[in-house]
Amino acid sequence: MGVWIMAGITFREAARKKILWTALLAGAAFLLVFGIGLRFQVGDFRNSSVPPFLRYQVISAMLMIGLYTVDLLAVVMTTLTSVDTISGEISSGTIHAIATKPLPRWQILVGKWLGFVAMSGVYVALMFGGTIAEGYYLGGVLAERPLQGGLLVFLECIVALTVTFMFGTWFSTLTSGVVTLGLLGVAFLGGWLEQMSGFTEGSRLAMVGIVSSLIMPSEAIWRRAAFEMESPLSGSLQFSPFADISIPSNAMVVYACLYLLVALGIAVYHFGERDL
């Protein structure tokens, strides 16, 4: 019961943050620009001699670029909205009025986590659904497996959220934000390095990428999501965030789920043990 009360109040709290509305505005602007771009491109194709097959692949590539933007927006928005919910409430003393209520501390943390999971889910559904819908209705292209792709992007957001929560039980708001964004940066770089290793089949470079993905699997989840959604030609675009040179396996997705659970477990344990 306490978990759901905390989840509800946290969802409402998160929904009032300016960063969420800023991200939604940015998302709306993105959908507008993306829709206009798609419409112009389709119009230009009508007056050109580009073969239909190639037209389809170009619009597919545009759709993947749009989905990648949504992915970045969703992960950054999830991290920034949740970064002060634990550390900020501890430092301000807001947590004292809740932590003395008759509910175990784990329910407070998990309830807050669920609230942000729900908020992140709504954001991903709106943005991802909007982009997919624009691709279909304006560009005539449907992502290959949009549900799998959307769920993987959602999983990536939850991983970033959980890591933010975990650091929030240790560090100040600023420090946990910097550490989480730093880890996302490591994952981003590692993903590119792993793809580059595909050209030369260089195992050392691939290892750097794999280790980066093990440290923070967010980018690996995106690459798997891209693989699920992209058309074969889009996947063959080299040096892009959705190239299929190096595709994370199912094991990496399972690892990301375990990573998430372990991070949540550490957050629950440390929040339960620390002084408030």
Binding site: A97, P102, P104, D275
Partner: protein, 285 residues
């Protein structure tokens, strides 16, 4: 904290006093399970601090009460009531009554972001009472309040005692403690210095004001055997006697050493004077 040993009896208003940094808030946090002692033991209603079932019977007003600023007073009280397991039906009648009790009915539709510090203290007090707890911890409940607000808090605290609740009160406002509490404990550097039963008739120390002529240096030098803090200003002598019991002997001593006493007035020592006596005036209170 070190060697902090104290007992709070059921149904009393307990005052917890000490200078800044003495460990008052830390002690409350330990009793509420917000912080863990490195050693030692505490029991609240017979259970360890932090026990979920015990917390169902505890109310707490933090020193600087803060909560989500977009809530209105009824929303905040409903939330805290639900977290304490109070039914919606009960809250429907109790919440307006509590808001009225703390004087916030005119502001019932305002969001907390528009509240002053005193108003936040009031709604914080209401959330501490929303589940009618058996033990109430109040950390500086009147620090942001005007005189009317302080009186309101005093009346609420007394009403809680009448209801049978135990109140653990941490306050810097000694006059409030003096007229509200049944028992007070003074702590310094994490240790209990002394305690005082405010209901007791016999004072532990009594301030005496004497007006007398011919107070000789020999007489004044010998005053230390009856008490301390003796001050002489021409014909006016003030002294803190160790107890009420020594007063006849002190008067006899003054007369026998040649003083012509024409006024001898024992005074009840205020809590503030007692506090300064115990802590010293330069301890940063």
């Amino acid at each position: 904290m070190r060697d902090l040993t104290l007992t709070v009896s059921h149904g009393e208003i307990f005052g917890f006093l000490g200078p800044n940094g003495a460990g008052k808030s830390t002690s409350i946090k330990m009793l509420l399970g917000l912080a863990r002692p490195t050693s030692g033991e505490a029991l609240v209603m017979g259970a360890p601090p932090g026990d979920v079932e015990v917390r169902r019977k505890i109310g707490f007003l933090p020193e600087n009460f803060r909560f989500y600023e977009w809530l209105t007073p009824p929303e905040l009280l409903h939330l805290h009531g639900r977290l304490c397991g109070v039914s919606s039906d009960t809250l429907a009648s109790r919440v307006p009554a509590l808001i009225d009790l703390v004087g916030l009915t005119p502001h019932i539709d305002k969001r907390l972001q528009n509240f002053s510090k005193g108003m936040l203290q009031r709604i914080g007090l209401a959330q501490a009472l929303v589940h009618e707890p058996d033990v109430i911890f109040l950390d500086e409940p009147t620090s942001g309040l005007d005189p009317l607000g302080r009186r309101m808090v005093r009346d609420i605290i007394r009403a809680q005692r009448e209801r049978g609740a135990t109140v653990f009160l941490n306050s810097h406002i000694l006059s409030e403690i003096e007229i509200t509490c049944d028992q007070v404990v003074f702590i310094r550097e994490g240790e209990v210095v002394t305690s005082r039963d405010m209901r007791a008739q016999q004072e532990e120390a009594v301030r005496v004001e004497v007006r007398a002529r011919k107070l000789s240096p020999v007489c004044i030098a010998g005053l230390a055997q009856w008490g301390d803090s003796a001050q002489v200003d021409e014909e006016r002598l003030t002294l803190t006697a160790r107890s009420r019991e020594v007063l006849p002997d002190l008067l006899r001593y003054l007369v026998e050493t040649g003083a012509e006493v024409y006024q001898f007035t024992p005074q009840k020592m205020s809590l503030e004077e007692l506090f300064l006596n115990i802590m010293g005036e330069d301890r940063g209170f």
